[in-house]
Symmetry: C2
Subunit: 179 residues, 2 copies
DNA sequence: TCAGCTTCATCAAACATTTGATCATCTGGG
DNA sequence: CCCAGATGATCAAATGTTTGATGAAGCTGA
C-alpha cells in the first residue's frame, strides 16, 4: 500500500466500512472482503448498542455494563457458583474476580465460600441487589425494545438465527474461548 | 421474582439466552422478550469473535484489538487528524488519547501538531507501523474468513444488511453516540 | 497414604475505557 | 480589537479486561 494515499474528504463513521473494504480489495487482491465487511459491521453495530445502553441506562445509575450482566445472571438464575456466573455471563474467572470487588463493595451481592468445596465461591444478590435489578432491567429492556424496532419481527428472528449459526460454526473452526 | 429460585442443573454459556428469555417472560409479563433475545445474542456473537481474534492474532504479537483498529484505519486512509481517527474507529477522543500513548511509545505511529490548527493532532504510521500492519492484517483477515465460513454467502450479505438496518434505525431512536 | 496433578480463586502489572475537568487555541460578534 | 463561547486535546480517577503467576483445596493412582 502506498504511504501517501490521501484520505477522502468525507471519511466518517458511516462511510468507513465501505471505504475500507473497497480500498483493501484494490490494494490486496487476496483479501476476503466479505469476511472483512461482516466482522467490521458486526462490531460497529454491537458497539453502538452497548454504548447506548451503558451510557443511557447503566452509568447514570452508577452501574456498568459488565456489572449489570453479572447481577442480571444472578437475578434470573438465582445463587450460583462464581465459576458458573463467569461462564454464562461470558467473562474470565479473573475478570469476574475483579468485578466482584466493586459489586460487593457497593452492597449488591455477597460472596461466600461454598460448603461442599472450600475452594469455590457462592454468589448471591443482597436485598439491595434484588431491589435494584428489577428497575434497572425494566429500563434496559425498554431501551432494547427501541433498538429492536428498527427491524421487522421476521428480520429480528433471522438476525438471531444468523448470529447463532455464526457462533455454532466457531466451534468447528476451533476458535479460542475464554478461560 | 422469587429470591430462592434454584438454577437449572445445566446452565452453560450456550443455554443461558434461552433460559434467560423464558424465565424473564414468566416473571415479567411486560418484558419484550424478542428485543432481549436479540441484544443478548448480538453481544455474545460479537464477544466471541472479538475475543478469538484478539487472543489468537493480536495479543500474541503484542498488539491489542483497539490498537489494531487505529493502525488499520491509518493504514487504509493515510495520515489524518486524530479527531477523524477517533470517529471512524469508533472511540471517544479521550480514549484515543490514552491509546496513542501506547502506540507512539511502541514506535508504530507518530503524532504531530497540525499546521493549520495548532490545537489539532496529525497522526501517521511510522515506517515500523507500515511494516507491521500488513502482516497482522493478513493474519487477521484469514481468521475473519474462518468465521465467515460458518455462513453461506447469501447469509453473510443478509447479516450485514440487517446489522446496517439496525444501526440506521438507531439514529431515528435518538440513541446516544460517543463524543 | 500421599505425592503429583488438577481445579478454583486471587493477585499483579499493563492496558483501554468512561466521565468530568482543565488548558490551549480558534472564531465570531460587538 | 477583543472577549465570550466553541472546539481539540489531555488529564485524573475509577472501572473492567488480559495474561501469567501464586496459593489453597480437592482428587487420583501407585
Amino acid at each position: 500500500m502506498t504511504h501517501n494515499t490521501a484520505p477522502p474528504d468525507e471519511l466518517t463513521f458511516w462511510s468507513f466500512v465501505d471505504y475500507a473494504v473497497h480500498k483493501a480489495e484494490r490494494e490486496l487482491p487476496s483479501v476476503n472482503a466479505e469476511a472483512m465487511r461482516m466482522v467490521l459491521t458486526l462490531n460497529r453495530a454491537t458497539s453502538m448498542v452497548v454504548y447506548d445502553l451503558e451510557s443511557s441506562i447503566h452509568r447514570p445509575r452508577g452501574w456498568t455494563w459488565p456489572g449489570f450482566r453479572v447481577l442480571f445472571a444472578l437475578w434470573l438464575a438465582g445463587p450460583m457458583e462464581a465459576k458458573t456466573t463467569a461462564e454464562i455471563s461470558g467473562m474470565s474467572r479473573a475478570a469476574l474476580s475483579a468485578l466482584l470487588n466493586t459489586l460487593e463493595r457497593d452492597g449488591l451481592l455477597s460472596r461466600e465460600r461454598a460448603t461442599h468445596d472450600r475452594r469455590a465461591l457462592q454468589l448471591s444478590l443482597t436485598e439491595e441487589g434484588y431491589g435494584a435489578i428489577l428497575g434497572v432491567f425494566r429500563a434496559h429492556n425498554r431501551r432494547e425494545s427501541a433498538w429492536a424496532q428498527a427491524l421487522e419481527p421476521e428480520e429480528r428472528r433471522e438476525l438471531v438465527r444468523l448470529l447463532n449459526k455464526l457462533m455454532a460454526g466457531s466451534t468447528d473452526a476451533k476458535a479460542k474461548f475464554r478461560n
